[in-house]
């Protein structure tokens, strides 16, 4: 649920990058950080292990500027994808407004993708939320892999009814990084516009 701060005249949204371990969630945030002009971003905070696996979360605040006197801010978070960090994942979902699900194109990660999406649904339930009400999009990452699975196959597994927007990406090269963020952000804004 978006947070409005009347005194600072700010509206804050929380976007969470979810997905299996090593699918490229942190890479997305790093590339976004690289690309966004300095005046529109804050510091990036990463709580990671020595080998750069996310331990708790990555955090990047984006500042969109003002409309009608209200400043809009998006706080981007990644969760740790490794299975055993589930308690941390759950904590990061508190107050989530939108989700970018980062799937991995590697053949041996197909099940991990499905499992992570199932885990996302389950964790959202703890906050009485469901993917039907939270704006979310799918990014199919690592399209550069030689043995990348066909997009349709991954989509079949994650979104059999084809109801969710999906984007192919090579996050490492900033390809397909902006599109899912733009898409989920707009969905989040539209949702707020509909309910107020």
């Amino acid at each position: 649920m978006s947070t409005i701060n009347f005194s600072a005249r700010e509206i804050n949204f929380k976007i969470v990058y979810y997905g299996p371990g090593l699918s490229g969630k942190t890479t997305n945030l790093k590339r976004i950080y690289d690309q966004v002009p300095a005046e529109s971003k804050g510091e990036m905070v990463s709580l990671a292990t020595e080998d750069e696996r996310t331990l708790f979360f990555d955090f990047l605040p984006l500042d969109l500027g003002k409309v009608n006197g209200f400043k809009t801010r998006f706080h981007l978070y990644t969760v740790p994808g490794q299975v055993f960090y589930n308690s941390s994942r759950k904590l990061i979902l508190r107050g989530v407004d939108g989700v970018v699900f980062v799937a991995d194109s590697a053949p041996n990660r197909l099940r991990a993708n499905a499992e992570s999406l199932r885990n996302l649904r389950e964790n959202l339930k703890e906050y009485n939320l469901s993917l039907n009400e939270i704006p979310y999009v799918i990014q199919i990452n690592k399209r550069d892999l030689e043995n990348a699975l066909p997009v349709e196959m991954i989509r079949q597994v994650l979104d059999p009814s084809s109801s969710v927007d999906f984007y192919e990406a090579i996050a490492e090269q900033f390809k397909g990084v902006f599109e899912p963020l733009r898409s989920v952000s707009k969905l989040v804004l539209e949702k707020l516009a509909q309910t107020t």
Binding site: T3, N12, V36, G42, F56, F57, V67, L91, I92, T195
Partner: protein
């Protein structure tokens, strides 16, 4: 849905602001900050003499996550929560109190403040802020976020990556 985490506007805001400043004056702490449990900064004050604070967004998200992680640890161990929430380094420390069930009050202090006073006045401030908020009769400011607003804000998102997008295409 829109949710102000705390009813901080109008007169209430001014009163809470004054309470935070009193807290700094009495405890000799550097900064006092009200943070939403989701990690957003709601209000902050800084003592006149205090050095420039670090990024408040970073501080807020770490404080809120740290708090939620500690609460989760307590729950695992069959506790409702842990009581002492002091972090102390050689020079600087933080002290945290819950402010209702949606926010936290964090005080950042250094050697020039005595921990006992920081705790005492932070606890006091929490009580006073709760009172002010519960007695507030301020009307919720009337704001509406319509499709015009969402379209204009959406355009700002496009603008964020515009230049770089061209370079990549």
């Amino acid at each position: 849905m829109l949710e102000p985490s705390l009813e901080l506007y109008g007169e209430t805001y001014d009163k809470v602001d004054k309470l935070l400043n009193d807290l700094l004056a009495k405890s000799h702490a550097r900064y006092a900050m009200i943070v939403d449990r989701k990690g957003f900064v709601l209000m902050h004050t800084r003592a006149l003499w205090a050095p420039k604070p670090p990024s408040l967004d970073s501080l807020a998200t770490l404080v809120a996550s740290n708090y939620s992680a500690n609460a989760a640890i307590a729950q695992l161990l069959g506790e409702n929560g842990f009581k002492e929430t002091v972090q102390q380094g050689d020079d600087v420390g933080t002290y945290l109190e819950e402010l209702g069930d949606k926010a936290l009050l964090v005080t950042v202090f250094d050697k020039s403040a005595a921990l006992g006073r920081v705790k005492l006045f932070t606890k006091k401030a929490v009580e006073e802020i709760r009172m002010v908020i519960s007695n507030s009769s301020d009307e919720v400011p009337d704001v509406s976020f319509d499709t015009n607003w969402s379209n204009s804000t959406g355009a700002l998102i496009d603008g964020l990556f515009e230049v770089k997008d061209d370079e990549h295409n």
